[in-house]
């Protein structure tokens, strides 16, 4: 497989002026400014293969957006190497622009007073796509992203979900090899998020475009990412497949029990943690390294009549939170 994104030792700090409260401090700052340095990305190394869907996960301020901005040529790194499709995003910015598509969830690329169709046509012209080809491409994307019905409605009148779908379609007008998505689902309701994820997955499967996604939404990672890189304070804290992240990294299961009669005290079992206990229900976390799920279920059903029982993997959100907290280590770092 061909590597399309490679970074090594990537470093980026931001320098901001310290503004202390009070007039005296303001005068002092004017004469002798004080600066504060914030390390946004530190020694970051990434590799993404063609056609992959990689999710860069991290809490607010982890350095996700800074990373995506360095990869797209918006920000200059302080040090380190970046190679995107064999190009340096800062010295070959213009050439790279034709090969990548970008969507920044918080920055619209659509003209506010004009319908998306106008922006799409403009982008087609900016990227030098012949008129016929541009028309075909716009028609394909309108259908793929289910936006045909509001292509002629001014952007300001679109819902957020509709607008984001148009934004992603706009990012794909010039058939980029890599699509960078920075928090694409931010602010969307659950239905709109689900739909958006399906569309992104479909476009990746149909056209083979590599998707590089940043998000702090576990649902995005679960539905979209094949590989995930968890970063915190600018550093990689975990890297591997989303499947590993969900099923192997934290070798636990959650068992939810509903009793047929008011419940008894559950006998203590090694590797089983009681998360919630009520008269009629029980929630347990089972560590599979110590005990298997079947044994736990047998013990419970043998001690009391059970009305319903469900077994699930630990929610991805909890796993990610534990990685941030330093409770979990490992992965292919």
């Amino acid at each position: 497989m061909e590597t399309v994104i490679r970074t090594a030792g990537l470093q980026k700090s931001f320098r901001s002026r310290v503004k202390n409260p009070g007039l005296k401090a303001s005068v002092r700052t004017l004469l002798r400014p004080q600066w504060k340095e914030t390390e946004a990305v530190s020694n970051l190394g990434l590799e993404v293969e063609r056609g992959d869907m990689l999710a860069l996960i991290g809490p607010n301020g982890a350095g996700k957006s800074t990373t995506i901005k360095m990869l797209t040529g918006i920000l200059y790194p302080d040090s380190g190497e970046i190679d995107v499709l064999g190009l340096n995003p800062h010295t070959d910015r213009k050439r790279l622009a034709y090969k990548i598509g970008t969507v920044f969830g918080q920055k619209s690329q659509l003209w506010f007073h004009l319908p998306p169709a106008d922006t799409f046509n403009l982008l087609g012209t900016i990227y030098g796509i012949p008129r016929r080809e541009a028309e075909k491409r716009i028609a394909y994307l309108s259908e793929a992203f289910e936006i045909t019905d509001f292509m002629d409605v001014p952007t300001r009148k679109l819902s957020l979900g509709q607008r984001i779908r148009c934004e992603i379609a706009a990012g794909l007008i010039h058939e980029p090899e890599i699509l960078f998505l920075d928090e694409p689902s931010i602010g969307l309701d659950v239905v709109a998020k689900k739909r958006l994820r399906e569309l992104i997955r479909r476009i990746n499967e149909d056209s083979g475009v590599t998707v590089f996604l940043t998000s702090h939404d576990a649902g995005d990672i679960e539905s979209l990412g094949r590989r995930a890189v968890v970063i915190d304070e600018g550093r990689t804290v975990w890297e591997g497949t989303v499947k590993d992240l969900k099923y192997s990294l934290l070798n636990t299961r959650i068992i939810d029990v509903k009793f047929a009669e008011p419940g008894p005290c559950v006998p203590a079992m090694e590797g089983v943690t009681v998360l919630k206990e009520r008269e009629w229900s029980l929630k347990l976390e089972v560590n599979l390294d110590s005990i298997d799920t079947a044994s736990v279920i047998n013990t419970i059903t043998g001690s009391h009549p059970v009305a319903d029982i469900t077994v699930a993997a630990t929610p991805l959100e909890d796993i990610i939170a534990r990685i941030y907290n330093g409770e979990l280590k490992g992965g292919a770092l």
Binding site: R15, F104, D118
Partner: protein, 263 residues
């Protein structure tokens, strides 16, 4: 590339379409132009009460000169606040992922908007001048050269405002810079009266500066029926190239300073 697929023309076209949303507000706001022209026409009538001509301009030419210069200043949309805002909120950074440089995108949009706004201003101004000072003092040559030089003036204004806006990379607020630029154009660019009214040597210096190519030259050439058109157009091209190079240098230096945190 065919003309219809030119990115610059496409951007101008979209600027025009985008401006439709504000056109009614714009026309209402510019009713004030009628007041300005009426006041100036009345003042000039007093000045011309005992003479026929001043520095080669009769009353009719003087009022129509004002129509042309005011058309550019009233007609243009304001580019510098957009650039200042987009530098501050980081929008300028997102333009870096496009194959066209940010200044070109913004200026073409500005020129498209200006092209549309120029029309109602010219109509309102012409009506006022016709009623207060008489008919257009030139022929077709004056009209054609006036339109071309007004377009050139819009380009120069866009470039100067772009530089003011880009100063936001190093200044918290660039409003004072624009205020200074505006006053320079008012006084030394010939917005209210032709530079020929200044002492000859001073006027000669002012006439070669870019500010004169925004107001004095388009106004003078229009009312003098196209005379000195090549001199004026040549000056506009010269300053267009110089300002373009300065913008390019400033922009290239500035984008390294971009800091967009967070997502």
């Amino acid at each position: 590339m065919s003309l219809s697929r030119s990115p610059s023309l496409a951007l101008m076209g979209l600027g025009i379409r985008n401006q439709w949303a504000y056109l009614k507000t714009f026309i209402l706001r510019n009713l004030f132009l009628i007041v300005i022209l009426y006041v100036f026409a009345s003042l000039w009538k007093k000045v011309y009460a005992d003479r026929f001509e001043i520095a080669g301009f009769d009353l009719c030419r003087m009022v129509w000169y004002l129509v042309v210069t005011e058309a550019v200043i009233f007609g243009k949309s304001e580019l510098w606040p957009t650039v200042q805002r987009e530098v501050k909120d980081g929008t300028v950074a997102y333009g870096l992922v496009r194959p066209l440089p940010y200044p070109r995108i913004v200026m073409m949009r500005f020129l498209g908007e200006g092209a549309l706004r120029l029309l109602p201003v010219i109509i309102l101004g012409s009506l006022t001048a016709r009623l207060t000072a008489g008919g257009f003092p030139s022929g077709v040559a004056g009209m054609a050269s006036g339109l071309l030089l007004s377009a050139g003036a819009l380009v120069l204004m866009a470039q100067m405002e772009m530089l003011v806006g880009l100063a936001a990379f190093v200044m918290e607020d660039v409003t004072p810079l624009y205020w200074i630029l505006q006053k320079i154009i008012f006084i030394f660019g010939g917005l209210y009266f032709p530079l020929d009214l200044y002492p000859a040597r001073f006027a000669a210096v002012l006439k070669v500066l870019p500010f004169a190519h925004v107001a004095h030259w388009p106004g003078t050439v229009t009312v003098m029926n196209g005379a000195l058109f090549l001199r004026a157009a040549g000056g506009q091209v010269f300053w267009g190239v110089v300002l373009g190079l300065i913008i390019l240098t400033v922009y290239r230096g500035s984008i390294r300073r971009i800091e967009v945190q967070g997502g």
